[in-house]
Symmetry: C2
Subunit: 383 residues, 2 copies
């Protein structure tokens, strides 16, 4: 059996980040909103985004691609001190070439990874226009730079489901291929991700055949039900350690809610959560189904693993334990990611890392995990 290390194709990364350049909202809004749209100011030799009275810097740990670990720091970084691939699509493509990555699925930064910055804005007309403008800009700049290599993931106004469905349709028209949805909507004061509240959005998403990405920490960081509660009064490493697996705030409710039963074609990707804990979660859920479904009157017709296999996916950067138990998760349900330009990124060593981690894994499974599963998931037009 041929093992995976003889990889003669490029990887697909299912999670990377755009650090928005200062001009995203420039000249794209009506006069009455233009001045209030997010814009960059300089204060004491630092760049800040300004929106609705908030001053938001780019955190160092979000732009560490290519730096040695000794330089890692949460301290804000100016645009001029960032690697250009952070904010420039052509430079990004060059970095992807360096890293052996053909295609990249993109998340925003300043808007919140699922657009939650705008959900907090009181003027909902302003919020909607700013959000739409991000989707426009994403299509016109990054995706236009190479429509085959950048997968645009749109944000929608989740505070109003009618508007959200409308923006979803509009975003599809712009060429976007996935929806970025907050992993923990309850942290935003909204119903849990499994709640029937979201049915109208899921109906539209399912109808469109679009997948949904749930990035870790894409809800509110302030009210996140998980990592911050664990981290209170503990060293910073605790938060960094538990942040990925905290995505069980999405996966467990989705498995049990009935949303996957009602929407059999809806597909969700747990993003940057890693996979080493997911085999356990599926196993535990099945055990709970066997032992507890009678008193809980579960709405599931099959074991949770059935719905996971059919509709849930998870990605990872470097996860030896997860690969060891890949058959407990499903080799069709896991995907590689690079997380450029964040501190945990595999850039510029993705090819080497994959060759090393997959050396004992059959070639067909390897190709699925680092490439083909993503092609199918995002419905990409490549081999």
């Amino acid at each position: 059996m041929e093992m995976g290390s003889g990889i003669d194709y490029r990887l697909i990364s299912t999670d990377d980040h755009i650090i928005e350049p200062p001009d995203v909202w420039e000249g794209r809004l009506e006069a009455k909103f233009q001045d209030r749209a997010p814009h960059v100011i300089e204060v004491d030799d630092m760049d800040y985004w300004v929106f609705e009275g908030k001053q938001i810097p780019n955190i160092g740990l979000s732009v560490m691609a290519g730096r040695p670990y000794e330089e890692y720091s949460p301290k804000p970084v100016r645009f001029s001190d960032m690697r250009k691939g952070c904010y420039d699509p052509r430079e990004r493509l060059r970095d992807m070439d360096r890293d052996g990555v053909e295609i990249s699925a993109l998340f925003p930064t300043v808007t919140g990874m699922a657009g939650t910055l705008f959900g907090e804005c009181e003027d909902k007309e302003l919020a909607l226009r700013c959000l739409q403008t991000y989707n426009d800009w994403l299509a016109d700049t990054w995706c236009a730079a190479d429509p085959k290599r950048f997968v645009g993931q749109m944000i929608v106004p989740i505070w109003d489901l009618d508007l959200a469905v409308e923006e979803l349709q509009r975003g599809i028209g712009l060429g976007h291929r996935a929806l970025s949805f907050p992993n923990a909507p309850e942290s935003l004061g909204l119903p849990n991700i499994g709640d029937p509240h979201w049915d109208p959005l899921w109906d539209a998403v399912e109808e469109a055949g679009l997948p949904v990405s749930m990035h870790i920490a894409s809800g509110s960081m302030r009210n996140s039900p998980l990592p911050l509660a664990v981290a209170a009064g503990t060293p910073a490493e605790v938060f960094v350690t538990v942040a990925p697996s905290s995505n069980f705030v999405s996966v467990a409710p989705l498995l049990w809610s009935g949303a996957l039963v009602k929407h059999p074609k809806l597909r969700f990707l747990s993003v940057e959560g890693g996979i080493g804990w997911i085999g356990y979660l599926i196993q535990r859920a099945d055990e709970v189904y066997v032992k507890h479904r009678h008193w809980t009157r579960s709405v599931l017709k099959e074991k949770p693993s059935f719905y996971f296999k059919r509709q849930l996916y998870a990605n990872f950067l470097d996860d030896e334990v997860g690969l060891a138990i890949r058959h407990h998760i499903g080799v069709d349900n896991i995907m590689f990611e690079v997380d450029y330009p964040h501190s945990d990124t595999t850039f510029p060593n993705s090819q080497e890392l994959v060759a090393q981690r997959f050396k004992d894994i059959p070639a067909d499974e390897t190709r699925k995990i680092v490439r083909s599963n993503a092609i199918e998931f995002f419905d990409l037009d490549v081999e």
Copy 2:
């Protein structure tokens, strides 16, 4: 190589529960406290413990041993409707014989699994005397019934560290072999388990060579930082699914806090948390150490996995995924448990289950995991 299924010895269970009979506190306290000690009353054909105005029933799911899953229910159960092994040590020994279990480590129920019922009591003199009485009663009844087969785990007054150290010494004198400490003291308004606040207790525990058990959900259920936050507005199955792995509220802070550096002989057991997620947690912690320790200025001198291997342990009931990655955790660091009489218990099928789950695992590893590791951990006087 001989595989594990030829098991010709009895198992050791590192987690079982006493459902206290009504007479635990009867005739054991000074007159001024006797009436105020926990006692059982009957209301509308149900038994309730009464303490400081609280009325506490025995939850059905805690006494399901031997029942078919179809009968599982959280509804309160009377003593007369329970299997006698729940509250009677001689009946428990017979059930252990039926199940092929030689030795059992015991946790209390009505006191909270780490004695937290008394921490909430305003009269701290009453609280201390009631807590001490549980430790006395445990020694005089269950442990006395068979000192070789029951491992007494004591509770201590964690609201006052001087008293806690005193009670620890007293409990050791009574023959108890472990301390049951809340997995999430922050849920009780106390410092996190890794906080230097606990140093005086850890000094005494380390000096005594005693291990510490941290049972899932042994903090306050009301303020638990994890499962309840995840479960808000979700089906009951979500809570049941995530409750075990929520023990990362203990494991992650312990790994990073420096408590294990300062107390190199201190040993902690994550109880009923399962092990299938722990390989991932250790791997992630090591990754965080490599990438992030510079900016976090970690207090660790070695990778987190070094401290885990030396000082942390975890047990499980039925965890195929966990066994598949046992070498990522350490075969010396994992132990079997029965969880009698809770709903997830392996009773009365523990021998069969172990034979099945360990059939492809080498005999020496099997023996460690289902027996020898527990002998060493609790310093038991058997082979």
